[in-house]
Structure formats: structure tokens, C-alpha cells
């Protein structure tokens, strides 16, 4: 298992797309700083204002770029034919997929949390004592949201990996991830109440505030899942996608 993990790690760290995806996700830190400088300037003119926290506002950027990393971890091999070499060396599909999932989960977890924490720290340092609303709550208060955000990125990367295995196509897998992350939640917003809240509460991006026990949005209200249930649903997204991928991976020729 250790050798398989190290070979997966080698594959991931030796392609440029990994660094491009990580680079785009890391843009969040820079954008967060620009954002904070900008709202700080406004606050100096107006006294106080309510600004969104940068690590929340730019979270979709981290989510989509690292989900693409998860997709490419498998579809790049399918496209280049490398998958046949991989399966000759490691004939057991389950072991291969597990190793890939492990490496992708570890990389995205570390990357997402570093980016989120770095954005959090720099933006609070820049904001200082100004009244921007997002910098006025304690770290203990913000911690559940930060952890849930980081976890959601890892889940999205694993969903990407699972869909990549299932569809064997970069385009199809990315479009499916995008549907889960943006299209379906967008459409759920427009359902008539109370169905908008009921359906939207199960959507991937809306699980993050529910895990942290916070409000979904002005339009949707509180959601209805308690934190533990939202956590279970979040994990279920990754498990279902990977299980579907594994089933098809075993059944089909590479």
C-alpha cells in the first residue's frame, strides 16, 4: 500500500495541472487581501459597514479548482492511456482507487485549510480594529465555519475523483461537479417556499453553514439539518460518488 500511495503521490506532483489548480485556489489569499484593503478604505470613510468574510466569499474559487484537481487525478490517466499501465502494475481496482482517494484527500485537505487559514489571518491583520462586521467575531466563533469550509473542499475533490472514474471523461466529470456545486443549488433557490429551503438544505455548498450551525442566506433562512446530520450528508456525497466510480471501475475495461 505504501508503494502505491507513493506512486500516486508521484503522479500527482509531477503534472503541471496540479500546480495550476493549487495556484488558482491560492489566488484566494491575494483576492482576500485586495478585498480587505478595499473594504477597510470604505470603512475609513463611512465609519462602519457589513462586509462578507473573504474566506467565505472566495470559497467557491477554492472548491471548483480543487474539485478539478480531483477530476484530473483520474481522467488525465484515462485520456493519455496511462491508466492501462497503472492497472497492469496494480491490478486490484479497489486498492488503486483507495490510494488515489487518499492522496487527493490529503493534498486538498492540507491545501484548502492552509489557504483558508492564511486568508483568515491576513484579512484580520489588515482589517485591524475597524468595524467591518466579519472581523468582529471571535476565533472560537469562526472556527466551525473554517473547518467546515476546508472539509467541503476535500469532499468536492473526492466527488470529482469519483465522477471522473465513473464518467472517464474530463469534460463530463467537471460538468457534473459544476452541476452539484452551482447549477442545482441555483435552481433550488427558485423553488417556491418552503421547498426551496428543504431542497437547498441538502445541496453541497449549503451544507457548510449548516455544519457550523449558521444561517444559509437571507432568502433560504436557517435550513433544517442539525450540524451532525449536515456532516453526514457531506460525507455521503463523497462516499456515493466514490462507490459509484468504484462499481463502474470494476465492471468495465480500462
Amino acid at each position: 500500500m505504501r508503494t502505491i500511495l507513493s506512486s500516486e503521490w508521484l503522479k500527482l506532483r509531477s503534472v503541471t495541472s496540479t500546480y495550476q489548480a493549487l495556484g488558482v485556489a491560492a489566488l484566494t489569499v491575494v483576492l482576500g487581501m485586495i478585498w480587505t484593503f478595499y473594504v477597510s478604505g470604505l470603512a475609513d470613510e463611512r465609519g462602519a459597514l457589513r462586509a462578507a468574510a473573504p474566506e467565505q466569499g472566495f470559497l467557491p474559487l477554492i472548491q471548483i479548482s480543487l474539485a478539478v484537481l480531483g477530476v484530473l487525478a483520474i481522467t488525465a490517466e484515462q485520456a493519455s492511456g496511462m491508466i492501462r499501465t497503472s492497472l497492469t502494475v496494480v491490478p486490484n481496482r479497489g486498492t488503486l482507487l483507495l490510494a488515489k482517494a487518499g492522496v487527493v484527500a490529503a493534498v486538498t485537505f492540507v491545501a484548502a485549510n492552509s489557504i483558508i487559514v492564511l486568508t483568515y489571518v491576513t484579512s484580520r491583520l489588515i482589517a485591524g480594529e475597524r468595524h467591518l462586521q466579519f472581523n468582529e467575531s471571535s476565533l472560537a466563533n469562526d472556527l466551525p465555519m473554517l473547518l467546515a469550509s476546508g472539509l467541503s473542499v476535500t469532499v468536492l475533490a473526492l466527488v470529482g475523483l469519483g465522477l471522473g472514474v465513473a464518467t472517464r471523461s474530463t469534460a463530463a466529470a467537471i460538468v457534473s461537479v459544476v452541476s452539484l456545486l452551482f447549477v442545482l443549488p441555483g435552481i433550488a433557490n427558485y423553488l417556491p417556499a418552503p421547498w426551496n429551503t428543504r431542497v437547498a438544505a441538502l445541496m453541497l455548498p449549503n451544507l457548510v453553514p449548516q455544519i457550523a450551525d449558521q444561517r444559509l442566506s437571507r432568502r433560504l433562512g436557517d435550513g433544517f439539518l442539525p450540524p451532525w446530520a449536515a456532516l453526514v450528508v457531506l460525507a455521503a456525497y463523497a462516499i456515493v460518488a466514490l462507490a459509484a466510480g468504484f462499481y463502474l471501475f470494476r465492471r468495465r475495461d480500462a
Binding site: 471548483i64 477530476v71 485520456a79 467537471i174 460538468v175 452551482f182 447549477v183 427558485y190 417556491p192 421547498w195
Partner: protein, 258 residues
């Protein structure tokens, strides 16, 4: 002419084209499902609730489905050739770069021009028929008053198809082009919406979602983006979304080896 025929042959012989066209039309079904749920809700509500009930324009809600699908189709018409290496064959047969890209643009743009109106008008007709005069009569506006916005909304689907093609020609990578496309449709509008005034309205006016209404000047107060552009300026921005990436892609295709 033979370039057009060969591009058309390439598009109609891969499964992903049919998948994307099919998924675009699923947008109509989504609209019907939302309308059906809305009718059920409205009919079981009390008169007091009915008086306050409101509903979004469903053809605008489902519009992002064909936009995304046709954008991906545009991306795939060029990046799949780079993935398989077919592009070298294509360019050996048609050595000049621009006719290849122009042929692809014509085919992809045409498919967008067909799909867009089908989804937009299909959803509109279905929603109008199902909702009747419910929700304070939001669907009883005369058809001719809504027509300009329906047309400009449909056109954005063709813009997306060309934008996808341009991004694909520029980046040569399916993953990169689709990610940027998604960023333009979903991620950047979210970030722009979070910006403080006046920037959220200024930049929001440039988002593709804002342009159809800015071109027709229809019902601007309901725009979630912004509505600062004049009709002519908005039309120019919409065209620029389609044309600029194609020009960059054509330039890079001429400069770089396949």
C-alpha cells in the same frame, strides 16, 4: 464549403454532442418541474399568501443549463481534437488556421442559435400555459412585450458556444477551458455580488447574465446584477464575449505548433 462539411461531420459523429444537446433540452423539463411545483404550492396557499406570492422568470432560471452545455460543446469541438491528436490531421488537410476555426465557429454558433431559442421559448410557453394568471399575473404580460428579452436571452446561448470554442482554442485543454467557462458563469458573478457598492453594480452590469435585459431595456429593476449599460454598449459587450476569445485563439493557433 468542404471545411464546413468536415466540421459538421466531426460534430455530429461524437456522442458528447448529442449528450450536450440533450442536456440543454432537459432545461425545459426543469422549468416545467419548477412551474408544476409552483402551481401546487400556489393553489394550496391561503388568499393572503397568494397575494404576496411571486415567481421568477423561469426561462431565465433554466437558461444557465443550455448556456453551460453549449459552452462545453464549444470547448470540446476543439480540445477533443487536441487530446486525440486529430488536430494534426485537420491542419494537414486545411493548413491555414483561420478557415478551421471559422468553420468550427459557424457550426457551433449555429447549434447555439437553434438550441437557445428552443429552450427559452419552450420554457416560456410551458410556464405561461401552466401558471396562467397565478402569482399576481407575472405570466400575463403580452407576449410581444416579452419577445425582445426572450430573443436576447436565447442569443446568449450562442455566445456561450462561441466563448467555449474561443477558450478551447486558446487553452487547448478541456479542463482549463471548462473551468474558466464555469468561472465566468458562476464564480465571478457570486464574487461580484459580494462586492460593496458601487462596484457590485458597475461590474455586475458587465456580467453575461445582465446583458439580455440591458440590451432590451426591459424591467431593469429586477436585475440581480446591475443595469448601467446602454442597449448599444450592452450589445457590444455581449459580442465581445464571443469574439475576443476567438481572436486570441486564432492568433495563438497561427503562432503555435499543433
Amino acid at each position: 464549403m468542404s471545411v464546413l462539411a468536415s466540421e459538421w461531420l466531426k460534430v455530429r459523429t461524437v456522442r458528447s454532442s448529442y449528450l450536450m444537446l440533450g442536456l440543454s433540452l432537459v432545461g425545459i423539463l426543469l422549468g416545467v418541474a419548477v412551474a408544476w411545483a409552483a402551481v401546487g404550492m400556489y393553489d394550496s396557499a391561503t388568499p393572503a399568501q397568494q397575494a404576496h406570492a411571486a415567481i421568477a422568470d423561469l426561462e431565465e432560471v433554466v437558461l444557465m443549463v443550455p448556456q453551460l452545455c453549449m459552452g462545453v460543446l464549444g470547448v470540446l469541438t476543439i480540445t477533443s481534437e487536441y487530446t486525440t491528436g486529430l488536430i494534426r490531421t485537420s491542419l494537414a488537410i486545411v493548413p491555414r488556421r483561420w478557415p478551421v476555426l471559422a468553420g468550427k465557429s459557424a457550426i457551433v454558433g449555429l447549434l447555439g442559435l437553434v438550441t437557445g431559442p428552443m429552450v427559452v421559448f419552450g420554457t416560456y410557453v410551458a410556464a405561461r400555459w401552466m401558471l396562467g394568471d397565478r402569482f399576481g399575473g407575472s405570466y400575463t404580460t403580452p407576449f410581444l412585450d416579452r419577445l425582445p428579452t426572450l430573443i436576447t436571452s436565447s442569443l446568449t446561448v450562442a455566445v456561450f458556444a462561441l466563448l467555449g470554442l474561443g477558450l478551447g482554442a486558446t487553452l487547448r485543454s478541456t479542463a482549463g477551458a471548462i473551468t474558466i467557462l464555469v468561472g465566468l458563469v458562476y464564480v465571478i458573478p457570486i464574487i461580484v455580488g459580494n462586492l460593496p457598492e458601487p462596484w457590485s453594480e458597475r461590474l455586475g452590469s458587465l456580467m453575461i447574465g445582465a446583458l439580455p435585459r440591458e440590451i432590451t431595456g426591459d424591467d431593469l429593476t429586477h436585475s440581480v446584477y446591475g443595469s448601467l449599460l446602454s442597449p448599444v454598449a450592452a450589445a457590444m459587450v455581449l459580442i465581445a464575449y464571443a469574439v475576443l476569445p476567438l481572436l486570441v485563439g486564432a492568433w495563438l493557433m497561427r503562432r503555435k505548433d499543433a
